[in-house]
């Protein structure tokens, strides 16, 4: 019973940890640059989950003030994560533009092939 309670209390955190290390693994282990960027965005979104989870109050509602409600979830993580999402898409877009240019210069988006061609050149 205690173990079940622990699972309910920390399920969000554990899934966020899983998403985070999955993103980390993709970034480190895969040589394909588009795949690396997908891994990077997995990593970023897991952080959103970690931030938003403690802001929730059970029985609370979204932080839009109204006479009908008294308990609101914490608005501050929402503000932080709104900023994080927008900055995240900026970095992803920049990374993808770099990938397009690298593909033009080397004819490949695989890390190993690019290193080989770089040594030749």
């Amino acid at each position: 019973m205690a173990a079940l309670q622990e699972l309910v209390n920390h399920y969000n955190h554990w899934i966020a940890v899983f998403l985070m290390v999955a993103g980390l693994y993709v970034v480190v282990a895969r040589g394909n640059m588009v795949k690396k960027l997908v891994g990077l965005s997995l990593f970023q979104t897991s952080v959103y989950l970690i931030y938003l989870t403690p802001g929730k109050i059970i029985g609370g509602t979204a932080p839009i003030l109204s006479d009908e409600f008294t308990v609101y979830s914490n608005p501050l993580p929402h503000v932080l994560i709104l900023t994080a999402i927008v900055v995240g898409i900026a970095t992803i877009a920049l990374g993808l533009a770099l990938v397009v240019r690298i593909n033009e210069a080397f004819g490949s988006i695989e890390e190993d092939e690019i290193f080989e061609k770089d040594v030749e050149a």
Binding site: L19, A22, V28, G31, V38, I57, L94
Partner: protein
């Protein structure tokens, strides 16, 4: 909980698949699931942003890049043992850290004791905006949001500069790239 489990399954798909098109589409599905989880966590503004930016724009940008590059990923030359080891050790450390975190949905958590009640109580009086997320983002922390827009603007300029110097040999491609850059500008 069901949504979170689905997200974990989609993530396994993203890690295992080699067809990049499928990976990008799964990324879109993942973002929609994330947006649904955010609604469950009462973060409605964030959910809307995630659905439009995460599932919409980033999927479009990724597909545009795939169009300009390649669809298939080659088999990795190295064994994935070392990264796997790093990932597992990191996961172990992080899960050890989560044990001390306050339980989910607890109104007595530290996060709810500090400045958050001030914003919730005084938002109407000080800014007359009922949506507290909006009032913090645009009024209390307006300068930070301005700084954020500068970041987006800089990234937009950098993307334009990178894609502008492309060779004219692939004319339709560079048109597509320009269209992509133009589309992401108004997001700032």
């Amino acid at each position: 909980m069901v949504l979170l489990t689905l997200m974990a399954i989609v993530t396994i798909g993203v890690v295992r698949l080699r067809n990049l098109f499928a990976v990008v589409i799964l990324g879109g599905i993942y973002s929609f699931l994330m947006a649904s989880v955010m609604i469950m966590l009462d973060a409605v503004d964030v959910a809307m942003t995630e659905a439009s930016v995460g599932a919409g724009i980033s999927t479009v940008l990724m597909l545009g890049t795939l169009y300009l590059t390649k669809m298939e990923e080659t088999r990795p030359a190295h064994t994935p043992l070392l990264p796997l080891f790093v990932a597992v050790v990191t996961a172990g450390g992080l899960i050890y850290g989560t044990i001390d975190l306050p339980p989910f949905g607890d109104a007595a958590g530290i996060i709810h004791q500090h400045v958050a009640p001030h914003y919730l109580q005084n938002s109407i009086v000080e800014t007359s905006v009922p949506n507290v997320v909006t009032s913090v983002l645009a009024s209390y922390r307006g300068f930070d949001t301005l700084g954020e827009t500068v970041v987006i603007f800089t990234a937009g300029i950098a993307v334009l500069l990178l894609l502008k110097g492309r060779r004219p040999a692939s004319e339709p491609d560079s048109n597509a790239a320009k269209a992509r850059s133009r589309r992401r500008r108004p997001k700032a």
